[in-house]
């Protein structure tokens, strides 16, 4: 069990919280895990190693992504007043924005910010609920749903199907290098496959 605050998870948490608050007005803790996981997947789409993301995710029994490090970051940020609980969920306090701006401007976070930014930008094209439905079709989360027990996501053996989908995306898009494009296109495709499965 992780007990130390993971700096990557804390940054991701504040970054996603800030973006969701601006874009959708409010957000919930499961959304922080959801968009954190999507950002991690986009990190893989860029051809980077999952180990370099800085923390791992598990698939819950219900097939939702969950990170122990993100959860600890949420708890810590709530305790320290960066996040505030509301009736409907959570919101950021005035302490959050300067921290995100400062950490986000560091060159070592540049690649990370691209993934987080593209993950959160997807809410312009799809509702958070749609993103949740779409990601539930992501190959490793589908496996998590099929075997109702918590297990680590994105381990070596589980990534081959994901990479096949990424190859299909790269082939289909060909030109362009903006990560928001594959993010929205992939989520749209996964969402449509989820609807066809109902």
């Amino acid at each position: 069990m992780t007990t130390q605050l993971n700096p990557d998870a804390a940054f991701d948490c504040l970054f996603i919280a800030g973006r969701l608050q601006v874009q959708t007005g409010t957000f919930t803790i499961p959304e922080l895990h959801l968009f954190g996981y999507l950002a991690c997947l986009l990190w893989l789409y860029r051809g980077r190693a999952v180990a370099d993301w800085g923390y791992s995710f598990m698939g819950t029994e219900l097939g939702a992504p969950f990170s122990v490090d993100l959860e600890l970051a949420v708890t810590t940020l709530l305790d320290r007043g960066f996040l505030i609980r509301t009736l409907d969920g959570v919101c950021t306090s005035e302490l959050a924005e300067p921290s995100v701006a400062e950490m986000g401007s560091l060159s070592l976070n540049k690649d990370r910010v691209e993934c987080l930014d593209s993950s959160c930008a997807s809410t312009a094209a799809l509702s958070s609920g749609m993103v949740g439905c779409a990601l539930a079709q992501e190959p490793d989360l589908r496996r998590a749903q099929a075997t109702p027990m918590s297990r680590l996501l994105l381990e070596d053996a589980a990534r081959s199907q994901l990479f096949l989908q990424f190859d299909a995306l790269r082939n289909g898009l060909r030109s362009g290098d903006d990560l928001r494009t594959p993010a929205v296109v992939w989520l749209t495709a996964l969402y449509r496959s989820s609807v066809s499965a109902v």
Partner: protein, 349 residues
């Protein structure tokens, strides 16, 4: 279709790839600005009240082509909430804010040579960029725009919205297929599955970020539940939705196959109550709540073969609540008050 096929289709039909292909990264920036502005606009403006068209555009080239001046005031969408609206035109400035504009003097294709343009009219929406034109895929069958799908904080609020937005006027494209005719008098045989799928999709799109919504197959009356909803990070919570419909269903030749009246509503409530008891016994550590949805399609004086109905007969049951005996929702705390959703017919007067 497998996922690879869906990916291929999304690549070739997608609006964002088109904007990127036309204008590169600036095109992607513009289309995301436009989508954000459209979402913000549709939070304030009810699209049913827009008689004309909605246009939102952002110039890409030449550099500094924006027509915004320092003295321009950004649009205040909240002020549009209660106005009757014909056309709405906004330009997105370099600051990412929307500015009201008069109807463009050039046609949209000409405008799109140097801009990304969003166009909504009569529930159809599209993006135009450069020489490309793509319809925005409507992923939600109940929404009037892909950018008008709100997020709700809980199931109760979502069900109230489903009644108003999807059922009342049969606005949801999926739900609409339950009817045997255009005037919404009789149901097709066996509409339960369509109702369940329509509600499942509605809920997934609106509360699906923090809830899992599973459609169930009704095996028998001992297992009547239609939809299960689990909050994602609270494993001991379970919300069960039972759907029943009232009204008349017909076969393809028009003869009546089922007449569901008040007794049917009571039957559904009793089934859900028994099921909740069973679930409580089999999973005592779970907090289980029952939600009973009644799709009310009753019409007064409706005879076999009828094709039209008057307003007094068609709307007779709109405000007529159903009495339950026993009223499980009054007797127990794990049973929400029934959500009766009246589906209006089209009347001849």
């Amino acid at each position: 279709m497998n996922v690879a096929d869906f990916i291929e289709a999304a690549c070739s039909e997608g609006c964002v790839p088109m904007a990127e292909s036309a204008f590169g990264k600036s095109g992607v920036d513009a289309i995301f600005h436009i989508m954000k502005v459209a979402k913000s606009l549709f939070r304030h403006v009810e699209l049913e009240r827009v008689a004309g068209q909605v246009i939102i555009f952002q110039f890409i080239r030449p550099q500094g082509a924006t027509t915004t001046k320092p003295s321009d005031l950004a649009a205040d969408f909240a002020s549009l909430a209660n106005q009757s609206i014909s056309d709405l035109v906004f330009e997105i400035g370099s600051d990412g804010r929307a500015y009201p504009r008069d109807w463009p003097t050039q046609n949209l294709d000409a405008l799109a040579e140097n801009a990304v343009v969003y166009h909504w009219q009569s529930h159809h929406e599209e993006f135009i960029a450069g020489t490309g034109r793509r319809t925005v895929p409507r992923l939600d069958t109940a929404a009037r725009s892909q950018f008008a799908v709100p997020t709700f904080s809980n199931l109760r609020v979502a069900l109230q919205h489903y009644s108003r937005e999807s059922v009342r006027e049969s606005t949801c494209y999926l739900f609409r297929t339950i009817w045997a005719g255009d005037n919404r008098l009789f149901l097709m045989g066996g509409p339960e599955e369509i109702m369940r799928n329509s509600l499942t999709q509605f809920l997934r799109n609106r509360i699906g970020a923090d809830h899992d919504v599973f459609p169930e197959t009704n095996v028998n009356e001992k297992n009547p539940v239609d939809i299960r909803v689990n909050p994602r990070f609270t494993n001991n919570r379970l919300m069960l939705i039972e759907i029943k419909w009232l009204g008349l269903s017909v076969a393809e030749d028009g003869h009546i196959t089922a007449r569901h009246k008040n007794a049917r509503a009571q039957e559904g409530a009793d089934q859900l109550a028994v099921y909740l008891d069973q679930q409580r016994q089999s999973a005592p550590s779970h907090v289980i709540q029952g939600y009973y949805v009644i799709i009310d399609c009753r019409r007064e004086n409706l005879r076999e073969g009828a094709t039209t109905i008057t307003t007094p007969d068609g709307m007779f049951y709109e405000n007529t609540e159903i009495s339950f005996d026993p009223a499980h929702h009054d007797l127990r705390s794990d049973f929400d008050p029934p959500y009766r959703m009246f589906a209006r017919p089209l009347c001849i007067d």
